[in-house]
């Protein structure tokens, strides 16, 4: 069964450094998403991406964050100048429709900021 894959599974970074989290969505999907889950809290929406542009973003997704689809298979989340509070699980998801289509999630990248 097709799945969303994320790398790395765990990323440890010094505060202030930049990190790039990588995702390979399901191959025929057109809509891509990033979510995060701080330990013990709800899964929170960050951003949705379609047709090479952001279609929606949350208040969390400020200028510190950016997304990119650098080629036909990868979807990345870049976090500049990381802060301690950026420590969380980051989940990538994809779907083959913008609405009324289930989003399928990867197993996440655990980001630890020291």
């Amino acid at each position: 069964e097709p799945e969303v894959t994320q790398t790395p599974s765990h990323q440890v970074t010094q505060m202030g450094q930049e990190v790039i989290l990588r995702c390979v969505p399901i191959s025929n999907h057109l809509y891509f998403y990033w979510y995060r889950q701080i330990l013990g809290q709800k899964v929170e929406f960050l951003v949705s991406f379609y047709n090479n542009e952001i279609s929606e973003k949350s208040e969390i997704f400020d200028d510190q964050f950016s997304v990119e689809r650098p080629d036909g298979s990868n979807f990345t989340l870049k976090i500049r100048s990381t802060k301690l509070e950026d420590s969380a699980m980051y989940f990538c998801a994809s779907s083959d429709g913008g609405s009324w289509q289930p989003q399928h999630f990867g197993d996440g990248t655990r980001l630890s900021i020291l």
Binding site: V43, F45, S48, Y50, F91, S99, F105
Partner: protein, 110 residues
Amino acid sequence: GESVGLHLPTLSVQEGDNSIINCAYSNSASDYFIWYKQESGKGPQFIIDIRSNMDKRQGQRVTVLLNKTVKHLSLQIAATQPGDSAVYFCALEAGNMLTFGGGTRLMVKP
């Protein structure tokens, strides 16, 4: 803003019994609802979905019920198995994003 809440943080059931996990939501404009299962160390796994023009949908051993009048969603798991032990999230779609509930941990006793 939207909020999605769970009635119980932990549900413990005997293997073979039926499980019911509940979810309340506040955004009456939401028209698509999804249940996800999350096992330790893994991402949310799609279980079943339902659109707002339906009040019931069945899958394999799972049933989702939607009551739009009281803004309530439930997931029923028949003949619960040890492999069903996980955290279950309801999520609702608003625009192009999902809003998740806080999760209910289902524990299955052998």
